[in-house]
């Protein structure tokens, strides 16, 4: 007991009972433990902030570069805040190509794909989930095989196919291959299957016709899944670089990501400030949407994995 008191230092006056000394030591120990836990919490938060920095710094760097003059980008060690923000860079980036057209193309293609996908996956998923019909196993097999085939794998034959259909360099050519989604059918079928039979039976007793049951009762019930899938699909096709690159040979149907990537090829020297300005134009809308509906989007992408 004494040693403890000594090490702690503040030894109570001789008459103090052993019990009180003990409790004193305990409070001291508790204080130390508390201090350690506070320290750990602070360290944890610092580590978390460092982690955030690893992901945020590149974006901040992008923003900083996009406001610099070209000579300023070549200062080493780099400066974070440019002397005079050069807003002109954004206009310059925009003017390196027909960006209005790229933008329009992106909207038409990502939007067109989304609309067609909704129109094709809802009835298909419903039929697979709710009807028994001869050959449904085989047809669903086609869906599952498609789910496994990455588009990266078959671009060559599809290119030849589209060229035979005279669909290269058209919006339709970029939309049609994705007019339906195996992943969407898979996800939605799951959701339709989870709806209880009783609900459909109740609607039948209410004299509802088949199409009305689907439109008024079943589809509203899977709305969360539909929203999730829509986010997933739109973002994926908005961002897509590979497919439009491979399926276009001129500017008529090219999309925003291609336009941005092209800035690099246009200039002889690397004009990183213009490039980063263009990049920011591409990234900002998605980032804004992401931080507005972060939960939904994370769910959309992560559910891809946990199903």
């Amino acid at each position: 007991m004494k040693t403890v008191d000594n090490t702690i230092g503040g030894s109570p006056i001789g008459t103090a009972a052993a019990g009180s000394r003990l409790s004193h030591a305990r409070t001291r120990k508790a204080t130390i433990r508390q201090a350690i836990s506070v320290l750990l919490r602070v360290l944890n938060i610092a580590a978390l902030l460092l982690l955030v920095l690893v992901f945020a710094l590149p974006f901040i760097w992008m923003l900083s570069t996009s406001l610099k003059t070209l000579p300023e980008t070549m200062i080493f060690p780099p400066r974070w805040i440019p002397d005079n923000p050069v807003w002109q860079n954004y206009a310059d980036a925009w003017n390196t190509g027909p960006f209005l057209k790229y933008f329009r193309n992106s909207i038409i293609i990502a939007g067109g794909i989304l609309i067609l996908q909704m129109l094709t996956i809802i009835p298909a998923a419903y039929a697979f989930a709710r009807y028994k019909f001869v050959g449904s196993g085989f047809l669903f097999g086609i869906v599952m095989v498609t789910l496994m085939i990455p588009s990266q794998l078959i671009f060559l034959p599809v290119y030849l196919e589209l060229s035979a259909f005279k669909l290269l360099n058209t919006h339709l050519g970029l939309i049609l291959p994705f007019a339906s989604s195996a992943f969407g059918i898979f996800l939605l079928r799951q959701a339709f299957m989870q709806i209880s039979d009783e609900l459909i039976e109740a609607a039948r007793l209410d004299q509802a016709k088949e199409w009305k049951i689907i439109v008024r009762i079943m589809v509203p019930l899977v709305k969360p899944v539909l929203v999730t899938f829509a986010l997933f699909s739109f973002i994926a096709h908005w961002n897509d670089y590979f497919w439009p690159l491979v399926m276009t040979t001129n500017e008529t149907a090219r999309t925003l990501p291609l336009g941005i990537a092209k800035i690099r090829e246009v200039e002889g020297v690397a004009t990183w400030n213009i490039l980063m300005a263009g990049n920011l134009i591409l990234v900002t809308p998605i980032l804004i949407v992401f931080f507005l509906s972060q939960r939904q989007i994370i769910k959309a992408f992560v559910y891809n994995g946990v199903k």
Partner: protein
């Protein structure tokens, strides 16, 4: 049952099935067919060469390097992403606004176009004025060549892939962790299980479906890497970052060796097919955990 009622399901699945058959199923067979021919896309007739394209590919030293590049890239990316993501998930698996924010931040690269990421990292990895060289300079290291030297180029691409994939992977793990009923931890602590034992004997096995899912998905994704290579290195320097899809793309669209490129495509199809089959085999073995 009326005729219409019998036809209804078919009419409902027809649009989707037509799209899939036309743009996914048929192209697979078309590609296999093309792989047996020598064709330059322009000439009207294709010359049948049997399996000559495959023979050429397997003896081509460039293609061998492409295969080895792709394999190294895949192995590095998958192991790093999955294991780091698991650590992050164990660390970040907490509710609350701040943790939500951190999760959002590390996830954000996943929804950004690969074009942006490639351009941004090209700049970050600029050997002269890049931010990365400044950061390692602060830590006392000399400048690295990053993408512009064969010895570091492939690893640089791996870093970009890990940076992009880490958040998504970690969040899948977090979702997996949260699907483990908390009373299992309570039962384990009543059984006086040490944290490390709990992790090894309980968390890891219960998480194995997520681990397998991510390993396979990451592998399939890495084998098809294209965008970062097309934008950041174009396969160089000296073929050090040339990978399968980029190789197919170059042979098909730059050199117009359609048959040759198709044969490479068939090989990639084979690799991805094997991975998919392994995934389903493992999946069917592991279902009893859920």
């Amino acid at each position: 049952m009326s005729v219409w009622e019998k036809l209804r399901p078919y009419s409902m699945v027809a649009p989707a099935i037509i799209v899939f058959s036309l743009f996914f199923i048929y192209p697979i067979f078309y590609m296999m067919y093309l792989s047996l021919f020598d064709w330059n896309f322009v000439s009207p007739d294709k010359a049948y060469v049997g399996i000559q394209n495959f023979k050429d590919l397997l003896t081509d030293s460039d293609f061998r390097q492409v295969l080895s590049n792709t394999t190294i890239y895949t192995l590095l990316t998958v192991t790093l992403t999955t294991s780091l993501a698991l650590l992050l998930a164990l660390w970040l698996n907490r509710k609350g606004v701040f943790h939500g924010f951190v999760q959002g931040a590390i996830f954000s690269p996943h929804i950004i176009s690969l074009v942006s990421i490639s351009l941004l990292w090209s700049w970050l990895m600029d050997p002269e004025y890049g931010l990365l060289n400044w950061v390692i300079g602060l830590a006392g290291f000399g400048k690295l060549a990053w993408l512009s030297h064969p010895s570091t180029s492939l690893v640089s691409l791996v870093i970009v892939a890990v940076w992009k994939g880490l958040g998504y992977n970690a969040l899948v793990f977090i979702a997996g962790l949260q699907s483990i009923p908390p009373d299992i931890y309570e039962a384990a602590s009543l059984d006086r299980s040490k944290p490390w034992t709990t992790f090894r004997k309980l968390i890891l096995p219960l998480l194995s479906p997520s681990i397998f899912f991510l390993v396979i998905i990451n592998m399939i994704g890495s084998f098809q890497v294209f965008e970062t290579i097309a934008i950041m290195t174009q396969g160089g320097p000296v073929n050090s970052t040339n990978t399968l899809v980029y190789y197919i793309y170059e042979n098909g669209f730059r050199f117009f060796k359609i048959g040759y490129a198709s044969a490479a495509g068939v090989i990639l199809l084979f690799i991805i097919g094997v991975l998919t089959i392994i995934y389903f085999k493992l999946l069917s073995k592991r279902v009893h955990y859920r």
